[in-house]
Amino acid sequence: MIQIDRLKELVQLMIENDLSELDVSDSEQTVKVKRGGAVIHPATAPAHAPISPSVSESPGETIDEDDGLIVIESPMVGTFFAQANPDNPPFVSVNSDVSSETVVCLIEAMKVFNEVKAGVNGKVARILVNNGDPVEFGQKLFLINPA
């Protein structure tokens, strides 16, 4: 049987600690309670913040939740270059094999060209930016199918 007193105690606990949700169950009972409060406006909800790379001068990698692909994020803000100079072929293309040390692109900032390495072994699945594009810190650049 549902005991009101027990429930009141739980609610009091929520109020005192400003809990917005409570979900308790044991073999006999399940209790779920939500409480007012935190309406986050749609427009002010944090945009999907890319996960920060642990070392800022090496690319960030995160596992893309969709299909196990690994993301190479931009470690800096600047301009994306797919090739070392206009006459060279691009560092990598879709289906290129990459190892942890493979240079995949350059990011130019303040006239300095910074090499970005794959940081993972695998195959390039997708390239998400075009040669010459401006990129932000944390922007997704490549999807890698890990070996």
Partner: protein
């Protein structure tokens, strides 16, 4: 005029600059760290660029990232706001090298006024009252003792390159002095790589009065009168007002004029604040010059009708000041209360976290500057100021009453803020009387 301004800052001052740009029909780009991703003020800029992780050293303080952000967005000017790189002459220099206009003084003017000894010398020649003390750095301890005798104890030993209290020592007699000069010098050497120290008269109790000045690139500078920022806790201003109460009008006018002259002499284009201590005999002594817009600039805007941030942008773009000194006619009284996400009942412990309720005061004479809205989460990475509540009224007494009622309309929760403390201060007899000193608030909080 600029096509696109990059805002190298965050929070309320970023929004303040966005507002100025919008009103001048200039596009603006706001940078942000990952901790500020999704903040509502970013959506008011024309563009927002993520420049790094939460740590300020890798985002708001990282010069190459800021310049790169300006370059990829084709911004032709950078507004540094206050804090972060706003008073960094090297940053101003890098901007110039990259052909991006720094919205602030030239690196030279910034360096000239940023160094306390050179600023003091220029001040003297502009008839800005300064602390009596050594003319520049001390070479010889006996000479220092002679000077201290002349100006009278207590004196303070300060580092020429210093700031934030480091390398400062108060000396109450000659013994103290002899002990402290070399110790202060060593401390300064360690902290700033420059061991030069000087001595000055020290005031046990004083008020903090500062004069707002703005100069242009055509050699003109106009002052916008003074502010009183004496209500402080641990050197953090909590309440500011304009004009300063109980200041002898003639002395006030002299000091304001001299401050404008100092800025003019420094060939300084942009907003500057000349800070003073005022003793109980109505003597002003210059403390330092701030080479940026101040948090408390709105109180001056309220009494003069001048938009300081817009004017910063105009003069940086090379336009002459849009007003003359004689056109500046202060009207009424303005007060600003800083609303910080801090718990005044628990030693001002920071209270970051989500804001669910954010009911803002309104009505006549009320201005509210904040980057927050209901649903915003105050990040724990940066300073705790979340809003500035400013009021304007005919008289100081009316302004205090107006502030009291506006503070009672302001409801922010569940995070704790300084609002309840401000409500108490508006009912406090000493504050209502006016002219409290810079240690008054701390004494009051202890009592």
């Amino acid at each position: 005029m600029f096509n696109r301004v990059l805002i190298a800052n965050r929070g309320e001052i970023a929004l303040r600059v966005i507002r100025a740009c919008k009103e001048l029909d200039i596009e603006c780009v706001c940078v942000y760290s990952q901790a500020d991703a999704g903040a509502p003020y970013l959506s008011m800029a024309d563009q927002a660029v993520c420049i790094g992780p939460a740590a300020a050293a890798e985002s708001y303080l990282d010069i190459p990232r800021l310049i790169a952000a300006a370059e990829i967005t084709s911004a032709d000017a950078i507004h540094p706001g206050y804090g972060f790189l706003a008073e960094n002459a090297h940053f101003a220099e890098v901007c110039r090298d990259c052909r991006i206009e720094f919205i602030g003084p030239s690196p030279e003017a910034m360096a000239l006024l940023g160094d306390k000894v050179s600023a003091k010398n220029l001040a003297k020649s502009s008839r800005v009252p300064v602390f009596p003390g050594s003319e520049g750095e001390i070479d010889d301890i006996d000479e220092a003792a002679q000077i201290a005798d002349k100006i009278g104890y207590p004196v303070i030993v300060k580092a020429a390159a210093g700031g934030g209290g480091r390398g400062m020592r108060v000396c109450r007699n000659e013994n103290d002095l002899r002990k402290n000069v070399s110790a202060a010098s060593q401390e300064a050497e360690a902290a700033f790589g420059n061991g030069a120290v000087y001595i000055e008269k020290f005031l046990e109790s004083a008020r903090h009065i500062e004069v707002q000045v703005i100069g242009d690139k055509h050699g003109d500078a106009v002052h916008l009168y003074e502010r009183d920022c004496s209500v402080q806790r641990r050197h953090q201003k909590l309440i500011e007002e304009a004009p300063a109460p109980h200041v002898e009008p003639k002395r006030r006018d002299e000091v304001c004029k001299a401050a404008a002259k100092l800025i003019k002499k420094a060939e300084y284009a942009g907003a500057a604040t000349v800070e003073f201590l005022l003793d109980d005999k109505q003597n002003f002594y210059m403390l330092e010059v701030n080479t940026r817009v101040q948090v408390e600039h709105p109180v001056t805007e309220m009494i003069t009708g001048v938009d300081i941030v817009k004017t910063q942008i105009l003069v940086a773009a090379g336009e002459p000041l849009p007003f003359r000194q004689r056109e500046i006619k202060p009207r009424g009284h303005a007060i600003e209360c800083r609303i910080n996400a801090e718990d005044p009942d628990h030693n001002f412990a920071p209270c970051p976290g989500p804001i669910h309720r954010f009911d803002v005061p309104g009505g006549p004479g009320v201005r509210f500057d904040s980057h927050c809205v209901a649903g915003y989460r105050v990040p724990s990475n940066y300073d705790s100021m979340i809003a500035k509540l400013i009021v304007h009224a005919d008289t100081r007494r009316d302004a205090i009453r107006r502030m009291g009622r506006a503070l009672r309309e302001l409801e922010i929760g569940p995070i704790k803020t300084t609002t309840p403390l401000h409500r108490r201060l508006m009912d406090n007899h000493a504050f209502i009387e006016g002219g409290v000193d810079i240690h008054w608030l701390e004494r009051m909080l202890k009592a």
